[in-house]
């Protein structure tokens, strides 16, 4: 943790609301996007992030951070999201809607990340995966969690994690088969 972060953390622990506000305004939007990648629902994402921050404030005196404020917050949000998913059904309608026109749910409040068509397709395929498959894939690929950690988080066996990952890759490969051969010719050089 760098010096500035250390100071902010100290100020937070002492109860300075201004330090807390700074953290809030800095991380709110990115954390909401992050939560959205799990929950596929804007309101729920905001709900989770706000609850997380309030939690941080309530427990401010006892916070012990080994890594950085940022990873601490991300980890808390991730755990909350997984908790929400455990207790709620994922809204398949949202996913279907996103897939249909490729349009974001709310007009004018989003901007596209610049990416190739392939990446867009991969993203859509990923979002359409069965919930547990998608979660396992996300946690391994983006959160870089070990299978053992994923197993523990989702309360499943490591074998199941292996199967779900395999299934995710299998489904996506079949879905994207049509896009891959063409591009592979051009990309052969950089893959290896």
């Amino acid at each position: 943790m760098d010096l500035l972060e250390q100071q902010v953390l100290t100020a937070l622990k002492e109860g300075h609301e201004s330090a807390f506000e700074m953290l809030f305004r800095t991380y709110y939007s990115p954390l909401c996007n992050y939560a959205y990648s799990f929950l596929n629902d804007r309101d729920e994402a905001e709900e989770v992030v706000q609850s997380t921050f309030i939690n941080v404030w309530d427990k401010r005196e006892a916070i012990e951070i080994q890594t950085s404020m940022k990873s601490y917050l991300y980890r808390m949000v991730r755990n909350s999201c997984l908790n929400v998913i455990k207790h709620e059904k994922v809204k398949k309608q949202h996913v279907a809607h996103e897939m249909a026109g490729g349009e974001p749910m709310h007009e004018g409040v989003s901007q596209s990340v610049i990416s190739s068509e392939l990446e867009q397709k991969i993203y859509e395929a990923m979002k359409a995966l069965p919930e547990q498959c998608r979660l396992v894939f996300q946690l391994s690929r983006f959160e870089e969690l070990k299978y053992a950690e994923i197993a523990s988080q989702l309360e499943i066996s490591i074998k199941t994690v292996e199967n779900q990952m395999g299934k995710a890759l299998k489904i996506m490969r079949i879905q994207l088969k049509d896009y891959l051969p063409l591009l592979l010719i051009f990309m052969k050089d950089w893959i290896l």
Partner: protein, 329 residues
Amino acid sequence: MNDIDDLIGKVLAGEASAEEQIQSQNWIRESAANQKYFDQIKTIFERASANQVQLQFDADAAWRRVKGKLSGQKPLKQLWFKTPQFARTLRIAAGLVLILTGGLATYKWYVQPIETFAVVSDTVVVSDTLPDGSAAFLNRKSSLSYEYNPREKKRKVKLTGESFFEVKHEEEKPFIIEAQEVLVQDLGTAFNVKAYPNSDTVEVIVKSGEVQIYTLKNPGLHLGAGETGIYSKRSREFSKLVKADTNALAYKTGIFSFNKTDLGSIIDKINEVYDTHIVLNNEKLAKCQITVNFNNEKLDTVIEVIAETLNLTVTKKEKEILLDGAGCQ
């Protein structure tokens, strides 16, 4: 073929044992088709990205919501509104209210959320208007949280530190302040409450109107205009001050009135209100008495007047202001 996908998955995720890695390499080498199969999956894995769209979220609006929930204790009712299920019930019920008319008290109850509001001050005096129209003027390092519960019909304020209140009196909605352990109920008023956590006392000064100050165990006192009530946390007793300190409200009004007051006390008061560090170089100066009034003056003016009156020199240093002189007698 699921097994090969599992295996490839492990390899790509870095979970494969040495033996498994050899196994996969052997499989890939078996045919061009296998090689292609592997490449396809590897591409998918590597080119997958978490976000295709960066959604915009309104941090300002969110902050206002969160800020209101930051007091020390969360009222139990707030928990209901945190769960997604209840929030949905709220939205549904709100829709229903539009359609249904008349006499459905239960729906009305669900639809009216608890209003919360908070004000915090740090190094300067802060004033704000509470949702009910009452005004609060906070001295430094103070904070208050306001909550109106439509079911209990009570306006509740929790105060740490010091604040002056001008309460918009409403008969059916009593305004009650919780200051440390003391409760102050407005009976149509403007008054000041001083409740710093490390002080032994909680002080209430009434400017106009009346208040009742009490604790859960002690029926307390009734205070009228111009009266000051003091509660001692140690002895758990209330007492009334005979003479009100007219300068206690100085931080709010910026009006000082010193009548043959010794300089030591005056400097203390000014330091408190203007957040300065004025120091008397000569101990004897502390006992000099002066009679002087200030009405919303700038600090420089205040110091100038005092210096002129007592023939003092003023030296401004980085963190303090030094007053020096010969003394009075």
